[in-house]
Symmetry: C2
Subunit: 502 residues, 2 copies
């Protein structure tokens, strides 16, 4: 209902409006550069405060708009504010600039001029948020936080699943910016699918961050590549996220694994890009116990409301195709919905034979479904894994006696995924330096960069070198003797040096 | 002549042969990973030695094949060996791995698992070398050196301008690899244009490094993006590389600037991607003196042999279009060639009015041509610069009294180029940490990375995170207490830490 109201109020952005927004973002780029690291850090902290200040309203409107619970949305808002503050700290710390000084010297190749390198913002960027995270991966989310930290204004394509939330979140970000003294349009909103495509193709846009389906991601990536001026496209598309349970782990803690795996694949009604979609279990007793536990857990698992009518329809179609697939049978289904209206999905546990590991059986199905596949031997296990595509994550449950197999699994999985989880579950993506959220295609496009964690800032910057440029004209961080506040980690004459402490 | 012989001996690589080469490169990937940093460093040093060991033969065959002088080729070989050794040192130093450890802890977002991140090689990569650098930007060049350092086998598309050189250079690299104990096909050659396209589209290839023309670069980039599995494409395409001479600099050292600028645009018969293609000079006396000096220098400049018949034909066509262009007139032309055969080009100095700064007048013309444009005021200068596209470099000649204008120029150029040269000339690209060789399109595709300098290694790697993975299974560099040889710069719990010295 809210969504209908909003789409009346906010029709698609027209080409003329888009042109104006892009012009304003060029002004914003100038301001974001001119306020420097100190100013951008202050702005990000202030944006986080402003989001939390409007927490009640934001949670209320997003709960009305999305079918996500207020509790979940409240936690997501906390995470979103946390991300903004983290990127403020990244800006303060400064190593992300990769500041490098090579003094003039003689080399085996002859005399070398003075060269100084630093990263600078690309310019205005487009951000396409996801339906499943109206805050953390949408208008105020990680792509926006990292881009603003880099100094890039954000033009966010509003997801049709949460327009009112997007408008209010953008207002909060702009309030935060103004409180920090920033006057320009550092975050703008674009409405409508056609306007989204036009945004990717607009000459002012210098990069695209996208979280969503492979179909839309591929389309926008091609548009970004075919522009007169091609630009980087970073797409986080999702994955199957296989889980392997080794023999001894299954024997020693099969019940725990079964229970927690059901918790993981049904969490958030299975609508996380890190949802485990397939589990490989040993045949015979050890695996059977995991299956029995999972069946029990699924039987008593409640149906959940999905993000939108379309998401629920897609899940119904995809899961029906899966259960009707040759070699696939239903092991268990969750409780029916308590009401007939709404966007319901019942948890679904399927079994597939190793022979049918191809096509839709190995593709992500967005929603609460998990496919069980048995293996008779380590060899068959590795062969089955070979038939799976790349993914954001892979998970291994292994006990100490499983070590030999564990090592083989690690070797094989390392080539295919962005994160390997040991004796855990892939849902839950910590926002930290050592996180990598990405993987070879189809997990991501632009897979050499992450969309979560501090290093995500690198996506929005390009290097520039200054050759023999006078000190007075250089960025402060490249001076030979910077002032205290401009002291950051730098590489000087080849050696990485931390700033003097104290 | 050599080229004809070779193309008889080496017909295009067939699809079947390409499939075999790709299979062998998968084996090579395994070996490059298994020998570790120590093994790869040893291999790169040994490759550099092997190239130098065959210096006489390599210089001879490339001189016969390319019309470059033995002296120039000898220097280029030295640079190529230097690059290989530099990347060996990058591997030894280890900070390129971006090793990161976040110990398990409680955070404002709840408990966080142990997470450890490191970069790993993408897998086999395709390298397309350039006609103008048969060593330094071809089979044994910077793309290959950085990819091998990362642990990626190289499939090099042989440039038709120097096939025999490519074959011998690859033999030297393989000799070096074998001396270091490496047995697999870490560098393979692919012949023919169709095979080159097939290489970019082959599922085993994980990234492409390209140096060459915008036309071919765009085509291959689209192929790389439209694959079922899109891969990163890094293209270094060339640029106009404008030079600005400020009023006071022109007055105080106009003759020097004029002389050196002619030296820079005619160096290597104007066939460097950093060749200055356009100079903006003050109107009136100050600029006139620069022009007079340049005219004299060009009049007495010798014609030079270009890289190939095709290059010479292209230059003849492009430079004729330029001199016939509305608003363009010839200021000076170099000496006619001393012989009628050969791929000759005469240095050419043109003048254009600011009004015609668009289309071909603002595009790179590969060869010894420089366009002079005058400006009446700082305002007209900045407007003229506005009409130029992005570039690899921009150069400013400014004396202390030019400081106000210099600062405006720096601000404007920063947004458009990869390197700003002060009181110097853009030709000459130092191979060092602070070098950036790249720029916004059309200078490069994939402009957030460089193709020269140590940081070029980042193009061939993607991150992986390990969550709660047992220490025994982790890469050595991610152990809590690594052995001496595995101690590298790491980020631990958010803090960048250099290894303990001594």
């Amino acid at each position: 209902v809210v969504s209908d109201v909003v789409s009346d109020v906010n029709p698609s952005t027209t080409p003329g409006e888009l042109a104006t927004l892009c012009e304003l973002s060029i002004e914003a780029e100038r301001e974001l550069v001119s306020i420097g690291r100190e100013g951008r850090s202050r702005m990000l902290f202030s944006m986080a405060d402003a989001l939390e200040h409007r927490r009640t309203d934001l949670v209320e409107i997003s709960a009305a708009e999305t079918a996500l619970t207020p509790q979940r949305l409240d936690g997501e808002l906390t995470r979103t504010a946390y991300q903004l503050r983290q990127f403020a700290e990244v800006v303060d710390e400064g190593s992300y600039l990769e500041a490098t000084i090579d003094h003039a010297s003689s080399t085996p190749m002859g005399p070398r001029p003075d060269l100084r390198r630093i990263l600078r913002p690309l310019g205005p960027v487009a951000v396409f948020g996801a339906s499943n995270f109206p805050f953390a991966f949408s208008v105020p989310g990680g792509d926006s936080a990292s881009a603003l930290a880099a100094g890039c204004p954000v033009l966010a394509k509003v997801h049709e699943a949460h327009p009112a939330t997007s408008i209010m979140a953008r207002e909060a970000l702009m309030e935060g910016a103004r409180t920090a003294g920033v006057r320009s349009e550092v975050v703008s909103l674009v409405f409508g699918q056609d306007a989204g495509v036009a945004l990717v193709e607009h000459p002012s846009i210098q990069a695209v961050g996208f979280t969503g389906s492979p179909g839309v991601g591929r389309l926008l990536h091609e548009r970004a590549s075919q522009r007169p001026t091609p630009i980087p496209f970073y797409g986080e598309l999702g994955a199957l996220n296989a889980v392997v349970v080794c023999e001894h782990a299954a024997k020693s803690r099969g019940r725990d694994i079964g229970r927690d795996l059901v918790g993981s694949f049904t969490l958030g009604v299975g609508q996380f890009c890190t949802k485990p979609g397939l589990v490989l279990l040993p045949s015979r007793t050890a695996g059977d116990e995991v299956i029995a536990t999972m069946r029990d857990a699924v039987h008593s698992a409640a149906a959940g409301a999905m993000l939108s009518a379309r998401t629920a329809q897609n899940f119904a179609l995809r899961s029906t195709d899966l259960r009707d697939h040759e070699g696939v049978q239903v092991l268990a289904e969750g409780m029916p919905p308590t009401s007939s209206d709404g966007w319901w999905a019942r948890p679904l546990l399927l079994h597939a034979t190793p022979e049918v590991l191809e096509g839709i059986v190995t593709e992500e199905c967005f929603g609460p479904v998990l496919v069980v596949v048995n293996y008779d031997s380590p060899r068959q296990l590795l062969e089955s894994l070979d038939r799976l595509g790349a993914a954001l994550t892979a998970t291994v449950h292994a006990d100490p006696p499983d070590e030999v197999l564990g090592r083989m699994l690690l070797d094989q999985l390392t080539g295919k995924v962005g994160r390997i989880v040991w004796n855990g579950y892939p849902t839950g993506v910590a926002v930290t330096w050592a996180m990598h959220h990405g993987g070879p295609y189809p997990a991501s496009i632009g897979s050499i960069h992450t969309s979560v964690g501090q290093t995500a800032i690198r996506r929005w910057m390009r290097p520039i070198s200054y050759q023999d440029v006078p000190s007075a004209l250089l960025p402060a961080e490249l001076h030979d003797t910077p002032r205290r506040k401009d002291m950051i980690v730098r590489r000087v004459d080849g050696i990485l040096i931390a700033p003097t402490q104290g």
